[in-house]
Structures are given as structure tokens and as C-alpha cells.
């Protein structure tokens, strides 16, 4: 029986509870002095990898957490290791050179080769750029099967069954390793890292690398012309009762 070598890419993003602000120059969202965390979908990826190990239906040889981002991205990798990843790889990329999903996918292809991974679990999207591309792109580059927006994963030997969320419901796919999975919200409930595990994670191996180590540079295909605040809605009215609501809705032409 084969064993799993799982790669889990994680991204450091502005915390989901923070309301982002556009900077004055309208070039980006303000990131300085803003609370950052692990992208919520990536927490689900780590959790799923750890659960696969705990389920023991297919032995898990190793869970490697990976991040490409600024120096502080290593905090996110430590969190991943505290949740159960065995070690981390950090490709240091400054914020100004931030990679696009295609760049990340190209980098991950190299990492997959290097680490001999046979399962990559990614979040379905990151909550900052909301692109939702990296998993699918990586699957394309590797020519591996993909199961995106997974809400249930079962692995027995080389056989993988995934329930994925689609418009109007769910569908079930069957495929084989090696493959790419992207996680949807309902896949699991990520655990909190316990204090002892946070302490242990500090001793786990965290490799620092550069794009150059993988023979890549930060190539950008999309040029940001501007970032603006969304149009604000005109202030509404509060009504006293249901009759007031109905007449106001009629007045606005909604009924």
C-alpha cells in the first residue's frame, strides 16, 4: 500500500475579521499594522492533512507546510506546525514582489517534485485576492487530477473519493493519487493549536529558501492600475412596523 506525502501550501492574509482599508494613493489595501492570520481555507487544509494521518486508512509519511511570502509568513508556518504539520518550507518573497497565482503554482510544481509529494491540499481561495486559482493551476501544470471545493475526502490506498460543493448541491468524484484537493468551508472544523504543541512547533524544522533556489523569479502578468473603495450605499431608513416596510418597499419599486 502506498503512503501519503502531503504538501499543504498556506498563505498569510489580513485577518478575516478586519475590514480592509484602501490606501490613500489607491495603489493597494493598507497592510501595515493590520492583524494578519493564516488564510481560513488553509487552516482547513492543514486540519484535513492531520485528520488523514489520524484516520490511518492510508499511512501518512509526512505533512509539509509551505508558504511563499514575507518574513512574517513564518509565523503562519509555525501555526501550521503547531496544528500537526511535520516541518515547514518558507520561500521568502517580499510584499512588493508578491507572486500571482500562476507564479505560486509554478513554484509549487517545483516543490512537489523536490518533496516527492503525492497529495497537495490547498484552500479553495485566499480571502485577500479572492482569485481561487492556485489549486487548479497546479493540477494543470502537473497534469494531476483535481477535486476542488471538497467537503469530504476519503482515501483508501491510491483510491480517493471526494464530495465537492457545486452550484445547487454536491457531487461525488472518484480518482487516484497523486492529486490536488482544494478545501471548502464544510470540510472540517480546524483545531486550535494547544500550548504544548505551539512550543513543540518551535523545534520543528523550518527551511528558508528563495525563488532563485527553485530557478524562478517573480514575474507579474497583471498590472494593478488602481485599488478603490467600493461605492457606498446611500443611507437607508428605519421603519416602525411591517406596514411601514411594505410601503417603503413599494415606494422604492422593490414590490
Amino acid at each position: 500500500m502506498s503512503s501519503l506525502r502531503i504538501l499543504v501550501p498556506v498563505k498569510r492574509v489580513i485577518d478575516y475579521a478586519v475590514k480592509p482599508r484602501v490606501n490613500r494613493a489607491q495603489t493597494a489595501v493598507e497592510t501595515a499594522n493590520v492583524k494578519h492570520s493564516m488564510n481560513p481555507f488553509d487552516e482547513l487544509s492543514i486540519e484535513e492533512a492531520v485528520r488523514l494521518r489520524e484516520k490511518k486508512t492510508t499511512p501518512v509519511e509526512e505533512i509539509v507546510a509551505f508558504s511563499a511570502g514575507p518574513a512574517k509568513a513564518q509565523d503562519i508556518l509555525r501555526t501550521a506546525m503547531a496544528m500537526g504539520a511535520d516541518r515547514g518550507i518558507h520561500v521568502v518573497v517580499e510584499e512588493k514582489d508578491a507572486l500571482e497565482p500562476l507564479g505560486v503554482a509554478k513554484l509549487l510544481r517545483k516543490v512537489v517534485d523536490e518533496q516527492k509529494s503525492n497529495l497537495v491540499i490547498l484552500g479553495k481561495q485566499s480571502i485577500d485576492d479572492d482569485a481561487g486559482q492556485t489549486g487548479g493551476m497546479l493540477a494543470g501544470l502537473l497534469n494531476w487530477p483535481q477535486a476542488t471545493q471538497a467537503s469530504k475526502v476519503t482515501i483508501e490506498g491510491e483510491n480517493v473519493t471526494v464530495i465537492r460543493e457545486v452550484d445547487g448541491g454536491v457531487e461525488t468524484l472518484k480518482t487516484k493519487l497523486p492529486m490536488i484537493i482544494t478545501t471548502d468551508l464544510r470540510l472540517n472544523e480546524p483545531r486550535y493549536a494547544s500550548l504544548p504543541n505551539i512550543m513543540k512547533a518551535k523545534k520543528k524544522k523550518l527551511e528558508k529558501k528563495t525563488l532563485g533556489d527553485y530557478g524562478l523569479d517573480s514575474e507579474v502578468r497583471l498590472k494593478t492600475l488602481k485599488v478603490t473603495e467600493p461605492p457606498t450605499r446611500k443611507a437607508g431608513v428605519k421603519v416602525d412596523d411591517v406596514d411601514g416596510m411594505i410601503s417603503k418597499l413599494k415606494e422604492l419599486g422593490a414590490l
Binding site: 493551476m137 472518484k174 502578468r221 417603503k248 418597499l249
Partner: protein
């Protein structure tokens, strides 16, 4: 000597206009449409609407069993010149593993400058794989087109609006359906042509699906949506209060993540950053506080009405009409009065 000097002198003058002309003359869009069980998914025609904003010719693409019949139906949509179809049951389930090579082959053959499809479960699953095979940085979920290479899309759950310019020679794009209303499927007279089929075997097998059945309008394209949240307290209350209200209005039913996670409503009804985006004429919600992830999916609605017992709930900051009160009293009362 003289002629080459002249050429040098004239070239910089000529080039910009020439380039612009060539570009617009060559702009050609492939709009990838969805079909299910031999029927065209009308919502996917949004890709055609987006294509018409680019100028140039638009070709639609369909694949699946009875591909030709679907193509003939799609050919009636206004704005397209041609429909390319591939008749092969292997494409019925929208698997990315065989769809991506199929699209790549047809895109290369047709030399399209733009490839558009809806930002639906199908488009989200397929297009990144296509983009990677073409070595293109995809642009997801666009809400506006400024020019052939400049596009607008929301980021950070709609809290910022990004305008980007693509340097890729082929633009691979998914479009937000609510921002590009589907064209009428009548009066058009596109030619129908068979595409190439690389017949790539998919290593992935489609086993089954479980779709929520509903006679109500489709959530993504409904003109009215009623939506419930955690405030409904249980699935029984959700089922007791929301469907009658939806029926009284002829509306689709949506839900917040909290309501879905608590099992009050099906996953496919979730409205928000990671669920469905809706922009109906009326979005009427009850028991939803208005977290930014939820607002991301509904704040482009024409009129927003909210019922909530907490007068400070953030939902009231975006609601055109707000009613502070107990939804267990107000929703049935509203339903009764709307029926009259």
C-alpha cells in the same frame, strides 16, 4: 538609404494607430457556455454579454452529449457569430481533466484573444487549469470591462475594487453573472460548427450528485431573494418562516453561513464571499447580522431590506429599509400582508 531612413522616421508615427487597429480587428472572444442534461444553462450566457463589451467577434462553445442541439439553441442568443460544439458524453459532467485539454485545443485552433466563462462552480473549477496550460494569469470574477486588456474585480470580500491590466496575449477570464445580465436567446442566427475533440481520458470519474430540488427561482439569477440567518434559531423555524415568505414574494431562498453551518439550510443556499453572489431587485433578510463575508455576496442588490432585533447590527448600515424587531413576529406578519 533614403527609403530606410524614411521608414525609420515614419515607423514610430504609424505604429500606435496601426497597433490599435490591428488589435480591435483581431479581438475575438470565445464564450464557454454550460449545459446540463442536454440543456443550455441560461445563466452562463453572461459570458456572451461580457464579450459584447470587448467589441470584436464572439464565438460560443458548448460540449456534451447532444452538443449540436445545445449549440443550435445557443445560436439564437444575440451577439454571437458562431457556436462551436463538441458532441461527446464524456464532457457532460464538466470534469476539468478532460475539459481543459478540450478547451486548450479549440482556443489554440481559433486563436482567440479572450476566453470568458461564468464564475460558477464549473468556471471556477475549470478555468485555472486552462489558464495554466496556456501559461496565462487568469482574471477571476470580473464585474466590469474597461478595455480589451483592463478589467475590474472585487477583492477582499468586495471591500476593495481592483482595476488590472493584463499583459497576457490571451486573456482567460471568469465573469460575475450578476454584473453581466444574460442576453435574450432569440433573434440571433449564429452559424454552428463542429470543434475538435482531443478525446483526453479523464483519470477522474464522476460518481453521483445530490442537488437540492426546488421549484423556486434560481438563487443566482432570481429578481427577489429572501435570506435567513442565525436569528432563526433552528431548521424547523427556518422551514416554517422562510418558504412562505419566499412564496409570497416569488423569491429564491438564501442563507447566511451561520444558518448553513448550523444546518438550518442547504450549503448551496449560502450567500457571501465563499458562497453565491446575488444582486436581485430585492434582498430581504431576517436574523442576519451582516458580517463582511455575507455583505460581500449581496451588497450589490438594488434594494436591501432587513429585519433584526439588534438595532446596532451592521446589516442596517447597508439596508435601504430596516425594521428593528423580533423576526418571529415580523416575518409571519409580513408574509400575511404580502399575500393580500
Amino acid at each position: 538609404m533614403f527609403s530606410s531612413a524614411l521608414r525609420c522616421a515614419r515607423a514610430p508615427l504609424l505604429r500606435p494607430t496601426l497597433l490599435r487597429q490591428t488589435q480591435s480587428r483581431l479581438a475575438s472572444t470565445l464564450a464557454v457556455l454550460e449545459a446540463k442534461e442536454g440543456k443550455l444553462n441560461v445563466a452562463s450566457l453572461a459570458a456572451i454579454t461580457a464579450g459584447t463589451k470587448l467589441g470584436g467577434s464572439i464565438t460560443a462553445f458548448v460540449a456534451g452529449s447532444s452538443g449540436k442541439t445545445i449549440a443550435e439553441e445557443a445560436g439564437k442568443a444575440q451577439g454571437i457569430e458562431k457556436v462551436i460544439y463538441v458532441d461527446n458524453a464524456a464532457y457532460d459532467k464538466g470534469l476539468a481533466e478532460n475539459w481543459a485539454p478540450l478547451l486548450v485545443e479549440n482556443i489554440k485552433k481559433g486563436g482567440y484573444t479572450h476566453v470568458l466563462t461564468g464564475h460558477s462552480a464549473f468556471g471556477k473549477n475549470l478555468m485555472p487549469r486552462v489558464a495554466a496550460l496556456l501559461d496565462v494569469q487568469q482574471i477571476s470574477d470580473i464585474t466590469a470591462i474597461e478595455s480589451e486588456d483592463t478589467f475590474v474585480r472585487p477583492i477582499y470580500a468586495g471591500n476593495a475594487i481592483l482595476t488590472v491590466q493584463s499583459t497576457d496575449s490571451t486573456k482567460v477570464i471568469t465573469v460575475r453573472g450578476t454584473a453581466f445580465p444574460a442576453p435574450a436567446i432569440e433573434g440571433g442566427s449564429a452559424t454552428v460548427e463542429e470543434g475538435t475533440d482531443p478525446k483526453t481520458e479523464s483519470p477522474t470519474e464522476w460518481l453521483s450528485e445530490d442537488l437540492a430540488k426546488s421549484d423556486r427561482p434560481d438563487l443566482g439569477s432570481a429578481s427577489k431573494v429572501v435570506s435567513g440567518g442565525r436569528g432563526l434559531k433552528s431548521k424547523d423555524e427556518f422551514d416554517r418562516l422562510m418558504p412562505p415568505l419566499a412564496d409570497a414574494l416569488g423569491a429564491a431562498i438564501g442563507a447566511s453561513r451561520a444558518a448553513v453551518d448550523s444546518g438550518f439550510a442547504d450549503n448551496s443556499l449560502q450567500v457571501g464571499q465563499t458562497g453565491k453572489n446575488v444582486a436581485p431587485q430585492l434582498y430581504l433578510c431576517a436574523g442576519i447580522s451582516g458580517a463582511i463575508q455575507h455583505l460581500a455576496g449581496m451588497k450589490d442588490s438594488k434594494v436591501i431590506a432587513a429585519i433584526n432585533k439588534d438595532a446596532d447590527a451592521p446589516i442596517f448600515q447597508v439596508a435601504d429599509v430596516g425594521l428593528v424587531g423580533d423576526l418571529f413576529e415580523k416575518v409571519p406578519e409580513l408574509t400575511e400582508k404580502l399575500k393580500q
